[in-house]
């Protein structure tokens, strides 16, 4: 009854091509954004910020980046952690060595640009190799980058264990000190980045990625250049991932070592993309929410029901239930949570008169 586009006629192509053509969607998204910016800071606790909202938002951005590459352009990558590390350490070195640039936005953008450059470099083999083989090639990039940040001491400013720390952060004169500051900065950047990603995937660049993904031979025959298209996807994807890596290091961790961006991080982001939904920006958020929230929920659940358990058992149980849920979701809906959401919306359009 409530969710229906009946009567919403589009008389211009601009109106027809907007991001949310249905009025109810626009209202909903606007409401969520307003709540996130205005209502959340009124009640959120530091725990909610640092353990839930901040990780969720930053990893969503990384998942959007990876989704552009895997979901939209069809190029499998296992190097996400490495590209995040490039973003983090590039940002760190700019922040450390050019203290005049005391502006996190500039620092993060630099991290993103450097990650994009490295992404292009490791994307070159994608012209020749596809599928699993490309996954293995990007896995090599992950190990190489891990090695690079552990061994090339200049990158970590010659600290003994490679562990670096940042502090005294600000953006255009706004001092970033409390968790609420960090949350608002991250939220603003993630909203902007999501808008940029959406604009890219609905324009001709996004169509070129999807054409390569769906049928690369036909794409080439109608005029797309495969290498250029794939490298654009690698660059844009790595840019987002690099920015997410820099944000993770600066605003989530504060002090970190190369291990923070190891292969497990790559798998974590890839799971988010697969569970959330390949080729869907909404799916990137849903996947990140699932992966961030589910372990916390599983951890708390026995306590809520008054069941006492040893911590060891609890953490093992968490792994088992989590693994089982991933398998369950992939069997029930291989296209991810975003597809479930789309199906629900489709049903809602007809409800309560499905015929």
């Amino acid at each position: 009854m409530l969710y229906r586009e009946a009567g919403q006629f589009k008389t211009t192509y601009v109106a027809d091509q907007q991001i949310f053509p249905i009025l109810q969607d626009r209202v909903f998204v606007l409401a969520v954004t307003v709540v996130a910016f205005l209502a959340v800071p009124m009640f959120a606790s530091p725990y909610l910020y640092t353990e839930i909202l901040i990780p969720f938002l930053i990893l969503s951005l990384a998942a959007i980046g990876l989704n552009i590459l895997v979901g939209y352009c069809g190029q499998v990558s296992l190097g996400t952690g490495g590209f995040m590390a490039v973003g983090a350490y590039a940002a760190y070195n700019l922040w450390l060595r050019v203290p005049e640039v005391n502006n996190l936005v500039v620092v993060f953008l630099f991290g993103g640009v450097m990650a994009a450059a490295v992404g292009i470099l490791f994307g070159i083999p994608s012209l020749r190799i596809k599928g699993f083989y490309l996954a293995v090639a990007t896995l090599a990039s992950q190990f190489f980058l891990d090695w690079l940040f552990a061994r090339v001491k200049w990158l970590t400013n010659y600290t003994p264990s490679g562990s670096v720390a940042v502090g005294n952060l600000s953006v255009f004169g706004w001092k970033i000190e409390t968790p609420a500051d960090r949350y608002l900065l991250i939220l603003g950047l993630v909203v902007l980045a999501t808008l940029v990603a959406k604009n890219l995937v609905r324009g001709h660049i996004g169509r070129s990625w999807m054409a390569i993904r769906d049928m690369d031979i036909a794409a080439e025959i109608i005029g797309f250049r495969p290498l250029r298209t794939k490298l654009t996807a690698f660059a844009v994807s790595s840019f987002f991932i690099g920015v997410a890596g820099a944000m993770w290091a600066f605003l989530r961790l504060g002090a970190w070592e190369p291990l923070a961006f190891d292969i497990n991080r790559s798998f974590q982001i890839l799971f988010m993309v697969i569970i959330g939904g390949l080729g869907s920006l909404l799916g990137s958020f849903l996947g990140a929410a699932f992966i961030v929230l589910m372990p916390i929920l599983l951890n708390q659940l026995p306590g809520w029901f008054g069941i006492r358990m040893s911590t060891a058992l609890l953490s093992h149980l968490e792994f088992m239930v989590f693994g089982a849920m991933i398998v369950f979701f992939l069997i029930v809906e291989p296209h991810g949570l975003a597809r479930l959401w789309a199906v629900a919306k489709e049903k809602l359009r007809l409800w309560p008169f499905p015929h």
Partner: protein, 263 residues
């Protein structure tokens, strides 16, 4: 039932002594013919005659070992498929090669990719030049959608469409590039009689209204003889006939290839 007799003075594309082999298998042997500007040229032949290989050579997907292709007066050697597209050659495929994850509209929009120039920056903002460009090309695509009578499936994912409509969307995608030479690989394969009639009408209209030169492969002899201006006949990778439909119909080698010959 005789084909239309029209005359076409200018040669758009000529193929000279093309030979193509895969290892020891000779797909094409010493093929020469030309396609005149504005005509509908059919390539026919039994299965495995090398028809699709011929189209693949023309749009740069295969590189023949011998011979030369002259297009718009320029003799060319090795050419990549996207270069052929840039010079105005578009095609459809025998097995539908649509982008299955995208809507009809987006599929046809991809056909205009070579005309869309705005870079990453404007695309990321989707304002100003990027939006103007998108609208301008959307208008062109909507004209094609109207022309092919597929307005009702504009937003539908192409993977869910019936076969006949998918063929039509694929034709739309090729037309969106506004090609000078349109290669159609079995545009009517697997269609029922009504769908074939529709497709014939579209092909003739494209040729009449836009002046597009068309080179098509087709197995339905009735269709070929009706709509094409000239016909090339291939058999086992060799050319065995070439001419207006009536000449080809009475050519003994062609009759033998199709019906067999008594010894």
């Amino acid at each position: 039932m005789a084909g239309r007799v029209r005359s076409f003075p200018d040669v758009l594309l000529s193929v000279a002594n093309i030979s193509l082999s895969f290892g020891g298998v000779k797909a094409l042997t010493d093929i020469s013919f030309d396609i005149a500007k504005g005509e509908i040229r059919a390539i026919i032949g039994p299965n495995g005659a090398g028809k699709s290989s011929m189209l693949n050579c023309i749009n740069g997907f295969y590189h023949p070992q011998q011979g030369a292709i002259t297009y718009k007066g320029v003799r060319r050697s090795q050419m990549r498929p996207h270069e052929a597209a840039e010079q105005g050659i578009a095609r459809t495929f025998q097995n539908i090669a649509l982008f299955r994850g995208m809507s009809t509209l987006d599929n046809i929009m991809t056909g205009r990719n070579l005309r869309m120039k705005t870079g990453l920056f404007w695309q990321a903002l989707h304002i100003g030049p990027a939006q103007r460009e998108e609208i301008e090309h959307r208008k062109a695509v909507e004209r094609i959608i109207d022309f092919l009578e597929i307005q009702h499936i504009r937003k539908a994912p192409v993977g869910q469409l019936p076969y006949g409509l998918q063929k039509r969307v694929e034709l739309g995608r090729a037309l969106a590039a506004e090609p000078e030479l349109l290669l159609l690989d079995e545009p009517m394969a697997g269609m029922n009689i009504e769908e074939k009639q529709d497709m014939c009408r579209f092909i003739l209209d494209v040729n009449d209204e836009f002046g597009t030169t068309i080179c098509l492969i087709e197995h339905d002899m009735g269709v070929v003889m009706d709509i094409s201006d000239r016909v090339v006949v291939l058999d086992y990778g060799r050319k065995i006939g070439d001419g207006v439909p009536d000449e080809v119909r009475s050519n003994e080698a062609v009759v033998a290839a199709y019906l067999g010959v008594s010894h």
